[in-house]
């Protein structure tokens, strides 16, 4: 009788949810923080900045999706991707400037992510969490996510109230504004506490392409100029700090 009970207990532990618990022990948290900057200093929404085209401007809104976060090791080719990896970083909400991801223990030399939302989530109906359409990052009349937004005011703008509005997105062939970002960074999941990443809005104007507010104050649909702006902001990230204990 006792024997049977022991066998029973052994079987019980054997069949408990070991699949999940073992994979969970491989994972460790990493904090990722974004410092939203303009011309190398934290964004001040009351300040006027001047881009390389000589246009003065003020920032009223700045948001972007950071998705499909992955740690990679270029020499061993090992990778670990976050599950359900969608984060909306919003200048107006400091709580969104940092978040913690769960990745597999190991040594890595790259942090990869995309700016935007992968095409699958653009065609699969109503999403939730960071992708909730209530966040205002969704085109309702031409289905698709707005990947990044920059809004502000500039005396150079010819739009009403001197506003400029850049809503960048697009996932279809020919309009694909999803940009892969790969940042070199030596870090160890299980040891490194935090990666601090800078994102500088100047690159929207003065990147691989030049965006002049006077010549284009409004972009609110995929394709065309949106692709050039995406190329610009794809260069706005740099690793500021790797925090190890």
């Amino acid at each position: 009788m006792k024997k049977i009970l022991i066998v029973f207990a052994a079987l019980f532990t054997l069949f408990s949810c070991n699949k999940e618990s073992s994979s969970e022990t491989d994972l460790a948290p990493l904090k990722i923080s974004f410092q939203l900057e303009a011309f190398g200093a934290p964004i001040d929404t009351t300040a006027f900045y001047t881009n390389n085209s000589g246009e003065k401007f003020k920032i009223t809104a700045f948001k972007f999706y950071v998705s499909l976060i992955e740690a990679a090791n270029s020499s061993t080719n090992s990778r670990s991707a976050e599950n359900e990896s969608y984060h909306l970083v919003d200048l107006a909400d400091p709580a969104t400037h940092q978040f913690t991801v769960s990745l597999k223990n190991g040594i890595y030399d790259q942090l990869n992510f995309i700016i935007g939302v992968d095409s699958v989530r653009n065609v699969s109906g109503a999403q939730t969490g960071a992708l909730d359409p209530a966040k205002g990052m969704f085109w309702t009349w031409n289905t698709g996510y707005i990947f990044a937004k920059l809004e502000g005011k500039s005396p150079s703008s010819t739009a009403p109230f001197q506003m400029f509005t850049y809503h960048i997105g697009g996932f279809k062939t020919g309009e694909n504004a999803i940009r892969n970002i790969s940042l070199p960074a030596q870090f160890q999941i299980g040891k490194t506490n935090e990666l601090v990443i800078n994102a500088d809005v100047q690159r929207w104007f003065d990147g691989v392409n030049t965006l002049s507010i006077a010549s284009k104050a409004t972009i609110m649909s995929p394709g065309g100029m949106a692709l050039q702006i995406a190329d610009n902001y794809a260069t706005m990230f740099s690793v500021n700090k790797i925090v190890n204990p």
Binding site: F8, L11, F15, G125, A126, D132, T140, N142, T143
Partner: protein, 347 residues
């Protein structure tokens, strides 16, 4: 001893089940108390789109979707529920309006189509800009000339209502009310709106026969119309320019607004003709007040531009007798059971 072994084996199986359930906790489990429904596939219809793979239709979800469809609180001032523009007696189009009324005395810029057999549509709206039934309601809810609301605010109103709290809990087994659940409930309700019980369908099923005039009209229809208005949905879901002169106020570029390709200029989705006798007026901007006027356009109004459909470039030759027969045939597409179906009516 035999008895204890039996008991232990039993215990073993029971605990196995418990463990299995525990390990599966993360999966979306249908709450036990929901009643599954399925979208009926009428004979001859193709398979539905994959809109419901993550959103199984249940009686509870359907009931919630119906309440939402008829609830003015989805609009800014409470006056414009979905049903204000999509009226059941008009096969869910707007009765007798070329353009529909929305918030603050504004009009929509297009004619509200009837709603039926949406589960078969690849894309929605006259320009096909919307790619999934679940996200369609976001367009009218947030359009300033329709319901003029924000999704955030609608969810806030729903959360404050005890009846909704209860209905969302029953439909989605969660204590939270999210926009995803609201949109999925609306998709369930609209997906169930299947119209396939017209005289045409009964004739196809061998239960009734066409009159000779209806039969002549049907043959003409197959000859002149069904390439675009393809059976059984009565649309091939393509975008076409039927040679309508562009309206200088609305300046609607149709499909080109979505694709930005000049070859899509002033093309609009081929509308279904099911219940067409109930959905007047006609065309993407409701410019035709009768079906006869649409047929007259095909006979003599087609304007040739770079994107005018090759099938219509030379106009359609239809004499007055044929026109009368076509009209008689189109009448057989009226599904009175659908427009009187209590399941889709306001409670």
């Amino acid at each position: 001893m035999r008895k204890t072994i039996t008991i232990l084996t039993l215990l073993f199986f029971i605990s196995g089940i418990i463990l299995f359930e525990a390990c599966n906790k993360k999966d979306i489990v249908q709450p036990a108390q929901t009643t599954p429904l399925s979208i009926p596939i009428p004979p001859g219809f193709p398979a539905i789109q994959n809109f419901f793979v993550n959103n199984p239709v249940t009686q509870e979800g359907f009931d919630l979707g119906k309440k939402l469809f008829y609830d003015g609180r989805l609009s800014a001032d409470g006056n414009f529920p979905c049903a204000s523009c999509h009226q059941q007696f008009a096969a869910f189009a707007t009765f007798d309006h070329n353009l529909s009324h929305g918030f603050d005395n504004q009009f929509t810029t297009r004619n509200a189509p009837g709603l039926a057999n949406l589960a078969w549509y690849k894309e929605f709206h006259w320009d096909g800009g919307i790619n999934h039934l679940e996200v369609q309601p976001l367009a009218p809810i947030t359009a300033p000339n329709e319901m003029a609301e924000t999704v955030e605010n609608v969810i806030r109103k729903l959360k404050a209502d005890a009846t909704y709290q209860d209905m969302f809990r029953k439909a989605f087994a969660s204590n939270e009310i999210t926009s995803q659940q609201m949109l999925r409930a609306l998709a369930q309700f609209m997906g169930m709106m299947v119209s396939a019980n017209s005289k045409y369908d009964r004739v196809k099923a061998g239960k009734e026969t066409f009159t000779t005039a209806e039969q002549r009209g049907y043959q003409l229809f197959q000859l002149k119309c069904s390439t675009c208005h393809q059976e059984p949905l009565f649309t091939d879901q393509s975008y076409r320019n039927t040679g309508l002169p562009i309206d200088n106020v609305l300046k609607d570029m149709g499909r080109m607004r979505i694709t930005k390709k000049s070859e899509d200029s002033i093309k609009f989705k081929v509308p279904s003709l099911r219940n067409v006798y109930l959905t007047a007026p006609y065309g993407h901007d409701g410019r035709f007040y009768s079906i006869g006027a649409v047929i007259d356009h095909y006979r003599s109004g087609v304007i040739n531009g770079p994107t005018t459909d090759p099938l219509l470039k030379n106009k359609l030759s239809i004499d007055d007798f044929e026109k009368a027969d076509l009209l008689i045939f189109l009448r057989t597409l009226t599904d009175t059971a659908f427009v009187n179906d209590k399941r889709f009516a306001q409670n």
